[in-house]
């Protein structure tokens, strides 16, 4: 089974084709690189795979499963509930004055204690006389709106980045997007959120379950920071971190969710040769933990040094795929990319 399969993915933005019919498959435990000149559609491809801008054509499979959440019985139940809730809510709102009049004001106002039984009976009779226009029409219209809204929300959520992240795909960003006001540990803990179970009330009431979970994840976050070599800065604000460390923190945050697959978008951008050496070692260690790595990179030494296979894009289309050696000697790749990049 493949870690990820991309089937004929295409992305268009208002008539511009950014990615056209790209397909590839990544083996588990592999380091897979996507390279190409600027504007070749690499980041767009990443965004399509992680659900930020879902693909216009084609689809992506993870571990042999569709990446988009399927329609389940639970979804249908939710749609039905939305229909009933909103429908009844709208019908009740439209008629609230009439019903209140019939059940409370007409007969029982100021009565103490309130005669619940007969008031409810009156309410029932009033509901029965609402008729088609007053009762059924708002019920159906409201219900359709409710179900429609629930459907819209569901179809947005089924391929949203958070859903995809929760299926085990983590990523970093080309222009690092850390939470600058949070500390390093907290940044990592955000990445672990999908694995946490303590809910609203256990946090509100500080239940033992909440404390236990907090201690456990805190320790794990510290271990991850150690793994990327940032443990001694754990309590500093992420915004104050030097550039080279920021990439490492982003990788730690991405690893925090124990993903099966991690996508690195130009991890070496702006790094000096020493830092790149450290990064290569780090990426190898990530792979050795059992995480499949897909990376976009311009830094040829890094790509050629650690990739198992390379996929080359140009103007949104695939022009080659193969081992580093094969790519190095492929004339189309040299023409499209390598020659230019290494001279420049």
């Amino acid at each position: 089974m493949k870690a990820m399969e991309v089937h004929g993915v295409g992305v268009t933005f208002g008539g511009i084709i950014a990615v056209h019919d790209v397909s590839f498959a990544v083996e588990p435990g592999e380091i897979f690189a996507v390279i190409g000149p600027n504007g070749a559609g690499k980041t767009t491809l990443f965004n399509a795979v992680t659900g930020i801008h879902p693909p216009t054509h084609g689809h992506v499979e993870l571990d042999g499963r569709e990446q988009v959440a399927p329609m389940t019985r639970q979804t249908m139940v939710e749609l039905l509930v939305a229909f009933l809730l909103v429908g009844v809510g709208v019908a009740a709102t439209v008629n609230v004055e009439r019903l209140w009049q019939a059940s409370v004001i007409d007969n029982y106002i100021y009565e103490q204690p309130f005669p619940w039984g007969s008031a409810l009976a009156d309410l029932g009779r009033a509901v029965a006389t609402l008729g088609w226009l007053g009762g059924a029409l708002p019920l159906v219209c409201g219900g359709l709106v409710g179900a429609g809204a629930a459907w819209t929300n569901w179809s947005r959520a089924r391929r949203s980045p958070d859903h995809i992240a929760r299926t085990g795909v983590a990523r970093t960003f080309q222009n690092i997007r850390l939470f600058n006001e949070l500390s390093l540990v907290q940044n990592v803990l955000v990445g672990m959120d999908a694995r946490m179970r303590a809910g609203f009330f256990s946090a509100l009431l500080r239940l033992p379950r909440f404390r236990r979970e907090r201690e456990r994840f805190h320790a794990e976050a510290m271990k991850l920071l150690e793994f990327v070599g940032l443990a001694d800065r754990a309590l500093e604000a992420a915004g104050a971190l030097p550039y080279g460390f920021r990439r490492r923190l982003e990788i730690a945050r991405a690893l925090a969710g124990t993903p099966k697959l991690i996508l690195l978008d130009e991890p070496a951008a702006g790094m000096n040769p020493t830092e790149v050496g450290g990064l290569m070692a780090l990426i190898r260690r990530v792979r050795d933990r059992g995480t499949t790595v897909i990376l976009i990179e311009h830094h040829m030494k890094l790509v050629m040094g650690i990739s198992d296979r390379i996929h080359v894009l140009q103007y949104g289309r695939t022009i080659a795929e193969g081992s580093p050696d094969a790519i190095r000697s492929n004339p189309r790749c040299i023409e499209a990319y390598l020659g230019v990049e290494e001279n420049g």
Partner: protein
């Protein structure tokens, strides 16, 4: 029995009010299109424009002018209010927004809300001026009568359906303005600069476009349209008050979102729709529920088509 003439009459009212809403909505949509800010103060700038026009009327004593003179007076109010609102909106940008361009969107929005409140308070004080048109300044907060300078006759003669000169004025002012604005945005250098800044302010400034001046010009034009709208609104509805900016702003913003924010034809379409919905709701449902219905429409659009009827969805750059 269904009365067809009432429907047509309400449609006329709805379209007239809709054109006014559209003119205000354009002010929102232009500013949002260029710096992604909901200019909360826009409704209150519109309100101050109406106060300015009323002051102008009082100072020049327009009510006692002859019919020909009153036509000149209306023109003077239109130009005066437009310049006033344009300048006011421009200065708001200069004083309260420009320094926050790099801050968070929340900060910018909060600043705009602050400006809206300041303008509202200025309106309250303004209404307390000891002038005849402001009822001598007593009860500053009360709504003010705005004298109808346009004659209250039916242009269609004896017909049951009424089209008044006020209706005609609304269309005579708003349509040329919208045409002129469309030409300006599509044909002139300033228009091109605006579109460039809207797409990418950094790239635009690298190409030598004076971004701050273009944004300032956008605020001026948006405000000026609000100024025109305020005079037309006042002559059409004959009552103004210092709190009218909030309601007008909500309607206009709903119109801008309905049409697709950032789109000029969208703002017009949205304004006309909201105007007609309001008129129909006033006639066939109940006036007291009209605002609630407009609000429900806003929520429904935002759920089902957040980019509006004519808008295109903008995607965050990653």
């Amino acid at each position: 029995m269904f009365d067809f003439e009432v429907l047509v009459q309400q449609l006329i009212t709805g379209l007239s009010n809709g054109m006014i809403i559209a003119l205000i909505a354009i002010g929102y949509t232009m500013v949002y299109g260029i710096i992604e800010l909901i200019n909360f103060a826009h409704g209150d700038v519109f309100m101050l424009g109406a106060f300015f026009a009323l002051t102008l009327m009082g100072v020049l004593g327009m009510e006692s002018w002859g019919p020909g003179g009153q036509a000149v007076g209306v023109a003077a109010m239109l130009v005066g209010s437009a310049l006033f609102c344009g300048a006011l909106n421009w200065s708001l940008d200069r004083v309260a927004y420009r320094a926050l361009r790099r801050s968070s969107k929340l900060a910018l929005l909060v600043s705009a809300i602050g400006c809206s409140f300041i303008c509202m308070n200025l309106g309250l004080f303004w209404g307390g001026l000891p002038m005849d048109v402001f009822a001598g300044g007593v009860a500053a907060a009360a709504p003010k009568d705005f004298p109808a300078l346009v004659p209250q006759v039916n242009l269609l003669g004896e017909s049951f359906i009424r089209i008044t000169p006020a209706d005609a004025l609304v269309f005579a002012v708003t349509i040329p303005l919208m045409v002129a604005l469309t030409l300006m945005v599509n044909r002139t250098n300033l228009g091109r600069a605006m579109r460039a800044v809207a797409q990418d302010p950094v790239a635009a400034s690298l190409m030598g476009i004076p971004v701050d001046r273009v944004i300032g010009a956008t605020f001026f034009i948006g405000g000026a349209l609000g100024g025109f709208a305020s005079v037309v609104y006042s002559l059409y509805n004959n009552t103004i008050g210092f709190q009218m900016g909030t309601r007008a702003g909500l309607d206009a913003f709903t119109a801008a979102v309905l049409g697709g924010i950032g789109s000029l034809p969208g703002a017009v379409l949205g304004g006309l729709t909201i105007g007609c919905v309001r008129a129909m709701s006033d006639q066939y449902l109940e006036t007291r529920w009209t605002n609630t219905i407009v609000f429900c429409i806003l929520v429904l659009i935002l759920i089902f088509r957040p980019s509006g009827i004519l808008g295109s969805s903008r995607k965050e750059k990653v």
